[in-house]
Amino acid sequence: MTVNQIVMECLQIALLIAVAPLFVGWVRMLKCWAQSRSTASLFQPYRDLLKLFSKDVILAENASWIFRFTPYLVFGTVILSGAVVPMLTTKLPLSPSADVIVLVGLFAIARFFTALAGMDIGTAFGGMGSSREMMVASLAEPAMLMAIFTVSLVNQSTSLSHIAEVMYSGHAVLKPSLAFAFIAFILITLAETGRIPVDNPSTHLELTMLHEAMILEYSGRHLALIEWAGMMKLFLFMALGSALFVPWGIARSDSLLMGLMAGVLLLLKVGASGVVLVLIETGLAKMRLFRLTEFLGSAFLMATLGMLSFFILE
């Protein structure tokens, strides 16, 4: 472990924390353009966060420690996940501590606590959100594992750094299995980050809420942390997609210059993925809850087809 590696690790976490709201601002801006609305500033998410941080917290009278602990846990878990996904370099000191399955586990524990927090106050909305969120997660999980399975078949590893390095070496170009896994990954990303057509991040209409319903009772810095964590999660999924499927540009050494270039490239890639995200969100309508089985079923189908085509065709 060199000093450079530790510096890169810190830089990467700082990048994640700092840029995630910008990315959300970018997505919102694109969406406004796509729907011919006038846009807010690119930096509006920062202002929102700042506003929330400076407000007092109003806590429901029967909130327990779980409700108060959850925002910190969610925020911390996302940062921890950010520390293991190769964004700037594949030589991250923390990367071996968690492979892609552990990463899924880390997201799962954040979801577990958010769902509990949703039930803590004892409102109907909170419980509804928790129940639905867990249902969606239980459908997304097999698809996610199948996509991981396919990627790890091609790359002979579940370690994120190693996957990125193998992809680099170029044997993995133009494989149908990876193409399918990628499509599956996109569908799962929509589900996991709560985007249309699975969930609508900007709705507070009671019957369509999933994630928002769980965090309805939060305010002040707690809400800010949860919102920020949500933004980072979105950014992280984009970075994860980049590491798993298009790792070109990520440094394979611990040189800071390469890391800087990787950072710039990452921003470009993530920015481009924002365009795709907006196209999907604008083109589709939010699905009815029970149509989601079909949506996530097709994610599972894609991932499985990827696995099958690896065996059959490659």
């Binding site: 149908p176 089985t293 097709s298 087809l305 085509s309 490659e314």
Partner: protein
């Protein structure tokens, strides 16, 4: 284009043929179904052309063009006209729920892989690995015919099955002799016409194209 690249493109196309087959299996809207069918035809036609180029079998170009004109333009057009005339707008019902259909479809793919593994071992062609995909496409077409209630979707299932057979022929033996292929193409075309005429008659008789209604033709009720 060297052999390696061709093989890669071929398997890529095979994968997407399979994908369109699954798409048709689970698609509920009839227009999208026809579009998917057209896409599948396009993939087939490209695949045939590539195989023809690599294997330097020039008659495959003809069947590629034939596929393109017939399966990408003509048949989808006929089907389109059919559903406009018959005013079918509704979503098409499937008998089994969709996630279940997907699982059955996946099981069929595994089954065909298992069945075709020994055959693929014998073959020396670059396209041999796609044989399992072709068989799976045929089976999924059949599954589609079984699980759909609507007569128009059944004919699409039938045509998808034919696509699978065509794909199998291209990948197993670099295509059938041209005469046979022309004959098959003609058959498919005529079948489509006959189906079309039949549907009009069925529609006027039963006021519906739900195949359950045809059970009334049974004697003795």
């Amino acid at each position: 284009m060297d052999l390696q690249t061709a093989a890669q493109i071929n398997s890529f196309l095979a994968a997407f043929v399979l994908l369109t087959a699954f798409g048709m299996l689970v698609q509920k809207r009839i227009y999208s179904l026809i579009h998917l069918f057209a896409w599948q035809g396009l993939l087939l036609s490209i695949n045939t052309a590539i195989v023809g180029y690599v294997a330097s079998k020039h008659h495959l170009y003809i069947s590629s063009i034939l596929t393109l004109s017939l399966k990408v333009f003509l048949l989808p057009y006929i089907l389109h006209v059919l559903i406009v005339r018959l005013r079918i707008r509704r979503e098409v019902e499937t008998l089994v729920n969709i996630p279940m259909l997907m699982l059955i479809g996946l099981a069929l793919v595994i089954f065909s892989y298992h069945l075709m593994a020994p055959v693929s071992e014998l073959s020396k062609l670059i396209t041999r690995s796609t044989l399992a995909v072709a068989l799976a496409t045929v089976m999924i077409g059949l599954l589609m015919m079984i699980t759909r209630k609507h007569a128009v979707t059944q004919i699409i299932g039938f045509l998808a099955m034919e696509n699978g057979l065509f794909f199998a022929a291209t990948s197993a033996t670099y295509g059938m002799p041209l005469v046979v292929e022309l004959g098959v193409a003609l058959d498919v075309l005529i079948a489509a016409f006959i189906f079309g005429i039949f549907f009009f008659h069925i529609h006027t008789t039963f006021d519906s194209l739900d195949v359950d209604q045809m059970a009334r033709l049974k004697e003795g009720d």
